[in-house]
């Protein structure tokens, strides 16, 4: 909210100084559902700064500065007792390249947007053996498709009256194939932006290519905290990550419930390895180090070895970071072994797949979750109805975030025109929170969504979502200063 106010103040000041004018828009008065009209002063001010630049000129755009990285409280900051020499990710990354001066192509039949996600089954080293994320990827694809189809129904790319077209790629091949796919999309399909993907390794590979090829990448499904910690100005994410979910779980377990010993079981792939890091670090920093962490290989059926050791550790709760199928198996085997500790999990277990496999054991399970699907929002209700009508199934978190992310890209293209650098600029300098069906999306300086995350609890046969405020979960002190300039 503070950033929105700051942006408005900057725009107002610039208008007052006569440094910007409400230039005539190509699309006067056209409104995006729920968002600013294209000829609004905020958008015109941004366009004025990025249009008509010579290739060596840098735009005079205000650089966002966050006061705190990822809303981290002082007691869970790394090396919290020390003042670091340097703190990263507080200042917005700028793009100073020549891309803004590339003219729009004269002849274009369709405005292509890339999609990369796990949609076809294969064997993947990156994801830990046999692929297992297709269900998530297909939901992500459906959300993207719906956004494209609805944009086309509203007239497509309005400046030229041509349709948007989704260029679909599978990322589930051998490790590294996502790089080839991004190159194909960037140089052969000539997409204007890309949405994807879910697996952390594939996402990292994809954004390294995107940086060199200079194409914006909107991520809507990878919760790996390090995804955004790469300083790449072409990358953005519209969902709360594992860091935010871990902070909430840490606060709930230790500050609210006063649990002393938590055991961890996680998948041995990148999702489990990186997802649990902030939880483990937070536990240790709050003086409750995790006494046991067991990693399992994807695809195994028997977790007795892992669970026996966790049982012996005499923990009060168990946290699982991994996929739904494995999570349900672990929970069922725990209960069979007489382990009745509360079961907490990452967001991938908050799914029908988990519930169907866990049966009655699912009751009482609590998962971190990046948004609140129970929110009373007519746009969300309408989205659900349209999604059901189009695909005959319920949307999930991957389709909902993809729908939002694809709409952000489509909106940016409508505003910026057919220029990758300007499309990137329009999302990077979004004038205000994006009114998504997953809630208001407010980007941090490093273009990550650091909005509220939730706990989903299985109660009376359904998932119920709780915010930090709903449960009265305390949090540590979040100082209004970066670490370097703090006085204490």
């Amino acid at each position: 909210m503070r950033r929105v106010v700051l942006w408005s103040a900057v725009v107002t000041a610039l208008l007052g100084l006569g440094l910007i004018t409400a230039a005539a828009s190509d699309l006067p008065g056209v409104k995006w559902p729920g968002f600013l009209p294209f000829d609004s002063p905020e958008i015109q001010a941004l366009l004025q700064k990025i249009n008509d630049l010579k290739y060596y000129q840098a735009p005079a755009l205000p650089v966002k500065k966050d006061e705190n990285y990822a809303a981290t409280s002082t007691d869970v900051e790394p090396f919290g007792g020390l003042k670091p020499f340097k703190e990263h990710f507080l200042l917005q990354m700028e793009y100073i390249g020549a891309g803004r001066s590339i003219p729009e192509p004269e002849h274009v039949d369709a405005v292509k947007i890339g999609f990369i996600g796990p949609i076809m089954s294969t064997v993947s080293v990156a994801t830990g053996g046999k692929s297992h994320e297709e269900a998530l990827g297909i939901q992500m694809l459906s959300g993207s498709r719906l956004a494209i189809e609805e944009a086309n129904a509203r007239g497509g790319y309005l400046k030229r009256k041509i349709p948007f077209e989704l260029v679909v790629s599978n990322d589930n091949g051998l490790w590294g194939s996502s790089g080839n796919e991004i190159i194909k999309m960037a140089y052969k399909d000539n997409v204007w932006a890309i949405l994807g993907t879910i697996d952390g390794a594939n996402s990292h590979i994809a954004i390294r290519v995107a940086l060199k090829a200079e194409v914006p990448v909107m991520n809507t499904g990878d919760s790996d905290p390090t995804f955004i910690e790469t300083n790449i100005p072409w990358v953005m994410r519209n969902m709360g990550d594992d860091r935010q979910q871990a902070y909430l779980l840490v606060d709930y377990l230790y500050r609210k419930l006063n649990v002393k010993k938590v055991g961890v079981i996680r998948s041995s792939n990148r999702y489990g390895r990186f997802g649990i890091r902030e939880f483990n670090d937070g536990s240790r920093r709050l003086g409750r180090p995790v006494p046991i962490e067991m990693a399992y290989k994807l695809g195994q059926d028997d977790y007795s070895l892992h669970l026996e050791r966790i049982k012996k550790a005499d923990v009060e709760a168990v946290v699982h970071w991994g996929d739904a199928a494995e999570g349900a198996q672990i929970l069922n085997q725990m209960r069979k072994m007489g382990m009745d500790q509360p079961f907490f999990a990452s967001d991938r277990c908050l799914s029908e797949e988990f519930v169907n496999a866990a049966g009655t054991n699912a009751e009482g399970v609590i998962c971190g979750f990046p948004w609140n699907p129970d929110r009373d929002d007519p746009n969300l209700t309408s989205f659900r109805e349209r999604f059901r009508k189009r695909f005959g199934t319920e949307p999930d978190t991957y389709s909902a975030h993809a729908f939002d992310g694809m709409n952000m890209l489509i909106w940016a293209i409508q505003v910026a025109g057919l220029n990758r650098a300007k499309i990137r600029d329009v999302v990077a300098y979004l004038p205000g929170a994006w009114p998504g069906i997953t809630g208001d999306i407010v980007m941090s300086a490093c273009l990550d969504d650091v909005g509220d995350v939730y706990l989903g609890k299985r109660e009376n046969g359904r998932w119920k979502y709780y915010s930090r405020a709903d449960l009265g979960i305390p949090r540590g002190y979040i100082p209004p200063r970066d670490r370097i300039s703090r006085t204490q």
Partner: protein
């Protein structure tokens, strides 16, 4: 003394802001005319773009080889003959296996040019013919190649999914990844070969050093292990996301998106934009000339550490008004500001190569040749340059003042 200090402080502030924003230079171009220990400043530049015959303006790789300078672009390969000024080009229609050329190295023994192709694998240009190796016909671990280096009879290729070594005598391939090298992540970005060692810059795994004799690996990581902070200065690698490495005269220079650093086998030293002359912490690559001198390719200009011992830098940028500027600093103290026509055609610097006393710089929009007439290493006593000092020789009309 007070006025002098005030002046230096004001210059420091103005230059820092100016360098970062790419604004027009301040009216004062030099703090004084008294002789001071200053580095060589390149003031004679030529620029090359499509208008001069390059196949594309987005320059990803440059390699000088005697009178020839090879240039890898987003859409083709070029060779500039420095003696004649003639530019020869190759695109896919000319046999180039894939249009995006991201890495180049020359085998000194054979004269062959080796090309890393972005999504196209590895290629050799020899006798007018391109030979092609890729994931499906060789032991190349991935077709997305970011770096290439020749070491003896071996060609090393840094790819997005590990590193491959190809022995051109035996035809044997060796793949290095998380299974046989200390790569927590396998996203290789840069490779540099010297007589004794091969160094890899690996995104997420810092720098890996391969001892050629023992075939053992050694890893260099950020000691604090955290992504969001650098805990202590000069305690080791500044960040694990590395983009380039160079090992010259037993000094290892490293570029990252979070600053740069140097290791001499005993001491580490980090450099950041807020406390040194480097224009930005975001570094795409680097090229080192010696243990004292390294050139860093930042997103906000070219940062040349000209004398490590005295922390003396020259930052070359292109201003928003189209003119060029070189700022000489010692730490953050501005010693000299040299203004004039264009040096680098665009301030987003992607690659650099040393060529004797000359330098070649690839940018997001064109190539620059810095001609080192009268070059001297490190620093020496001289009067600050007057204004204007740059000579931009070529096609300034086409490029220097282009749209």
């Amino acid at each position: 003394m007070r006025s002098s200090r005030t002046y230096v402080s004001a210059m420091l502030l103005a230059a820092a802001v100016s360098v970062v924003r790419g604004d027009s230079p301040s009216p004062q171009s030099a703090p004084g005319n008294a002789a001071a220990k200053l580095p060589y400043v390149y003031t004679k530049w030529k620029q090359y773009t499509i208008a001069d015959g390059l196949p594309n303006d987005h320059i990803f790789a440059v390699k000088a080889d005697g009178p020839k300078v090879w240039v890898g672009t987003e859409d083709g390969l070029a060779c500039i003959d420095k003696r004649t000024g003639k530019i020869q080009t190759w695109k896919e229609k000319d046999g180039l296996p894939w249009k995006v050329v991201t890495a180049l190295d020359v085998d000194k023994k054979t004269g062959d040019l080796w090309l890393g192709l972005f999504g196209g694998g590895l290629a050799r240009f020899s006798g007018g013919r391109f030979d092609h190796w890729h994931q499906l016909n060789s032991g190349l671990v991935n077709d997305v190649v970011y770096g290439v280096a020749i070491q003896g009879d071996n060609v090393w290729a840094a790819t997005t999914a590990g590193c491959s070594r190809f022995n051109i005598k035996t035809g044997a391939w060796t793949i290095y990844n998380e299974k046989n090298a200390p790569m927590e992540e396998i996203w290789n970005y840069g490779v540099f070969a010297s007589e004794e060692k091969v160094h890899l810059a690996v995104w997420g795994s810092g720098v890996l050093e391969f001892d050629i004799k023992t075939e053992h690996w050694k890893e260099y990581l950020d000691p604090d292990g955290e992504m969001e902070i650098d805990l202590y200065r000069d305690d080791g690698l500044v960040h694990v996301i590395t983009t380039g490495v160079s090992y010259v005269e037993k000094a290892m220079w490293v570029s990252t998106y979070f600053g740069v650093c140097r290791y001499d086998g005993r001491h580490w030293r980090g450099f950041f934009a807020h406390e040194s002359g480097i224009p930005s912490d975001f570094n795409n690559n680097l090229a080192a000339r010696s243990a004292q001198e390294a050139w860093f390719c930042t997103d906000k200009g070219l940062g040349a550490c000209m004398d490590f011992d005295s922390d003396t830098w020259v930052a070359y940028t292109r201003n928003n008004d189209g003119t060029g500027k070189a700022v000489v600093t010692k730490g953050k103290e501005v010693l000299e500001v040299v203004e004039g026509p264009v040096n680098v055609p665009q301030s987003f610097i992607i690659c650099a190569a040393m060529d004797g006393n000359d330098v070649w710089i690839g940018t997001g929009k064109g190539l620059a040749w810095g001609i080192g007439e009268g070059y001297y290493s490190r620093v020496k006593e001289r009067a600050p340059a007057g204004k204007p000092a740059f000579r931009s020789e070529t096609s300034t009309s086409k490029n220097g003042g282009a749209q």
